[in-house]
């Protein structure tokens, strides 16, 4: 398992999908995507942005109208897909089969021998929290349990690249946490993860880089920090006995939030040292000083508002 960090594990160039001929609906409009090996890359966007269609073109489920697709340096095709694991959105399996049978099928399709399939299957079911449930028919599984089976089948062939389409869909908070941890474990093991999601907190928690799609086009891409850090401002979190901050810094503050005795606000980078000194002199405790970062939710809604404005 694992690939050379720095090389591209997934590369999409000029991907386009048009339904209904030249005047038809454009689902994906010349999307470029590059995922470096050993990274967790988020593909982000609202419903209908073209995320799933892009992934389906990459994996050969949908025929692209235009574009080139490569995985681990090879044009995508059946042979390179042997090194890829895929979890579709809301995975569903034949309900009369058991989890063990599903893993056996996918293990055999991946060319793994029977003995290995059995041992890997047991390990994977334990890893996704389904230990002892392998012989239960899937018709008796909850949606969250099916999601876990889907994750197990995606990992059965020890893939070098894992593509996850809305992996937290249908999972409770504990399950969502498990998925996040799993993605980080995979990354630590050298596996490249391409994560499609509209759950921004999930993306923010695990992704090194993101590509944001909107209306079938790439709206933004880059490292999470580069996209979210607000240039020129620093966020300060301070705790104090007073109900108001010293008057001399109030003119510098923006984005003020107060909870009990804790204040969080941002100031210009150039004023950080002075502000910290003033707070210190007035008996405040500085809890953190970090570059101001907007949440992905804030970034995303701002971006969508801008796009809608442009369209209007």
């Amino acid at each position: 398992m694992g690939s050379h960090t720095g090389a591209l594990a997934v590369e999409i160039r000029g991907a386009a999908k048009r339904y209904g001929g030249s005047g038809g609906f454009v689902a994906v409009d010349h999307v470029d995507l590059a995922v470096r090996a050993g990274r967790v890359h988020g593909l982000l966007g609202p419903n209908g942005a073209g995320k799933t269609t892009t992934l389906k073109m990459l994996l050969g489920l949908v025929r692209p109208t235009e574009g080139t697709f490569s995985i681990l340096g090879e044009p995508t095709g059946p042979s390179v897909r042997a090194r890829v694991g895929f979890l579709p959105e809301q995975p569903y399996f034949p309900p009369l089969l058991t989890a063990e049978e599903v893993l056996r099928l996918h293990g055999r399709l991946a060319g793994i021998d029977s003995a290995q399939i059995a041992s890997r299957g047991r390990d994977l079911l334990a890893r996704v929290g389904l230990e002892g449930r392998g012989t239960t028919r899937l018709s008796k599984y909850s949606r969250g349990m099916l999601q876990r089976v889907g994750i197990a089948q995606a990992l059965i062939a020890e893939p070098e690249v894992v593509v996850l389409d809305e992996p937290a869909s249908g999972l409770d908070p504990v399950g969502q946490r498990d998925i996040r941890n799993l993605m980080l474990e995979l990354r630590d093991g050298g596996v490249t993860v391409l994560l499609s999601s509209h759950q921004l907190s999930e993306v923010e928690a695990v992704c090194d880089e993101v590509t944001i799609l909107n209306q079938g086009r790439v709206s933004a891409k880059g490292a999470i920090d580069d996209l979210l850090n607000v240039a020129g401002r620093t966020s300060i979190r301070a705790r104090g006995a007073s109900t108001t901050l010293p008057a001399e810094i109030q003119a510098l503050m923006e984005d003020v939030a107060v909870s009990g005795s804790v204040w969080v606000f941002s100031v210009p980078d150039t004023a950080v040292r002075a502000v910290v000194d003033i707070l210190d002199d007035n008996g405040w405790t500085i809890e953190s000083v970090v570059p101001k970062r907007q949440s992905l939710e804030e970034y995303f809604s701002h971006m969508l508002e801008t796009t809608e404005g442009e369209v209007a």
Binding site: L61, R81, P94, H106, R108
Partner: protein, 243 residues
Amino acid sequence: MGRVLAIAVSVVSDAIRRRILWVVVLFALVLVAVVPMLPSYGQGVIEAVYREVALALVYVAAIVIALVLAASRIPSEVERRTVYTVLVRNVRRWEYVVGTWLGITLTLAVASVVFGAIVFATGWLVYGEPMWTLGQGVLSIWMEAAVVAAFCVAVSTVASPVIVAVSALAFLFLTHVRTDLLGGPSNPLWAFYPSLDVFNIIAPVAHGSGVTAAYLGVMTFTFAGWAGALLVLAAIAFARRDV
């Protein structure tokens, strides 16, 4: 071939747990069991009538099973997205299509063996003679049902289960009316008309001593030709399709 077999095994595992399959089998077998109780058999033809009626029931049951399993398999796998995790492996579209058909055909074989065993055992118990030619009859029925399954798989790569079922019934009808439409082999179109009549050996099995080994060879060749041609069409259609 390993991937085709893996898909086929998965299809069989799923299909043999479907209640509808065993309801059809049970229903057909109950009817077979009551055939000997029917009145008005002429002296000396009672065994022949039993064979004819039993094979007709097996035929209907096998075709129903083929339709039930094959008409909805691919559409429901695409609809429910179960096909995604299979096709993103190193699996060619044709392997998926052939594996699906093979699984359905193996399931039909299991059902046919059950049918054959019960029909044979009932005949032997009731009439006191082993009716070995029933094996030929069941084999021909299985082959025809497998061809129908191939037709259903081919159409189902581009159509919904209802359209598949209706078109399969039309296919069955049209492939059995060659004699009615063309008269006989003297008609110049006779050789070109698509027909499944070769599988209809109920008369020689029920009323005669069965068919020759050579005829079984022709039947097998026809089966392979039909199934192969339909699966090629299915693979081409499915390969061009977005899922």
